[in-house]
């Protein structure tokens, strides 16, 4: 008997994660660990953890991980990459981290076109603190701070941060994917691979937004949360390629 789905080398074995049942973080962690192994980058990988549910990601990864202040992931990633360009720097952030408190850092690091990868987990709520409304929450979405649903007159509209940064000339690769189905998981892996290759070739900033289920704070079971992504969330956040300037950048570099 031969094991087909081998345990990724850079994912710690025999550790039970603290994530809730059905959380998308576990899937994306596995994808990141698998890709680092497949692309032989684990020895120089340097992951910047956010404040949020993934704050304890260093318990599950078996490579260098640093913790950042809330929202400052891309600032720390910038420093790490500039100080040691040989590092392979990934900033792993949630929506409360990247698109709320960290908007300035995100926009300016993208505008500078730093040669880093950003993995952006969008679950439309603040997960760790108990399901408060995030800038990415959908109109009408019920959260603990908007029990009657998000009202655009009071709370504004969902923030499409990936679409915003995709317009910048420094952003080489931006894609939105979801982990709500096996097909989506495969697309996510492909997108993150493309982002990793962008950094490996030294082309510039790459960001992958992953629509991820949060069954606990959405008050749904995990299967329903996946359906909710496919039916409701994709209407606001349309999955697909947002920008791909890799060919131009390759030509520029010669």
């Amino acid at each position: 008997m031969e094991l087909i789905n081998k345990w990724p080398e850079y994912h710690k074995k025999d550790v039970v994660s603290h994530y809730c049942p059905g959380c998308g973080h576990g899937i994306v962690h596995r994808i990141v660990a698998e890709l680092l192994e497949e692309m032989d980058l684990g020895k120089k990988a340097y992951l910047v953890c956010p404040a949020g549910c993934a704050v304890l990601a260093y318990n599950y990864f078996d490579f260098d991980v640093i913790e950042s202040a809330h929202g400052r992931g891309t600032a720390i990633a910038t420093g790490a990459k500039r100080a040691n360009p040989k590092l392979f720097v990934i900033s792993y952030q949630g929506d409360g981290d990247l698109s709320a408190i960290g908007t300035a850092e995100t926009i300016h690091s993208a505008n500078r076109g730093e040669n880093i990868c950003v993995v952006f987990i969008n679950n439309a709520v603040y997960g760790m603190t108990g399901g408060q409304m995030a800038p990415t929450s959908l109109i009408g979405q019920s959260t603990t701070t908007s029990p009657a649903g998000r009202n655009s007159e009071v709370d504004g509209y969902p923030l499409h941060i990936t679409d915003i940064v995709a317009q910048f000339p420094g952003v080489v690769y931006a894609e939105r994917v979801s982990v709500s189905s096996p097909a989506g998981v495969k697309k996510t892996k492909k997108a993150i691979r493309n982002a990793f290759e962008t950094q490996q070739e030294g082309l510039g900033y790459s960001i992958v937004e992953v629509l991820s289920p949060c069954p606990t704070n959405w008050k749904m079971d995990p299967v329903k949360s996946c359906k909710w992504i496919d039916e409701e969330m994709v209407k606001e956040y349309k999955p697909g390629l947002l920008t791909d300037k890799r060919e131009e950048k390759r030509k520029e570099k010669g």
Binding site: M1, L3, C20, P21, G26, I27
Partner: protein, 74 residues
């Protein structure tokens, strides 16, 4: 041996499964089902009910957030 004749064995690591049910939902061959017994963490983990039906598509391992499923060939 053609792919059709291949035999696959699915194993669920009981104490790592949080019983989210994503593998059960996305397994087209209904190999997995929710167990009635609780595991160490107090969840109802997935268990293999139709081992012979597995075709090794790895949909369950793609969706499992806790890396709790192992699929063996042969």
């Amino acid at each position: 041996m053609s792919k059709k004749d291949k035999v696959f064995t699915v194993k669920v690591r009981r104490d790592f499964c949080k019983g989210c049910g994503l593998c059960i939902e996305f397994c087209k061959k209904e190999v997995l089902a929710s167990s009635s017994k609780l595991n160490r963490m107090g969840y109802n983990p997935a268990e293999v009910v139709k081992p012979e039906a597995c075709v090794g598509c790895l949909m369950c391992t793609q969706m499992c957030p806790d890396l709790a499923i192992e699929v063996y060939s042969g």
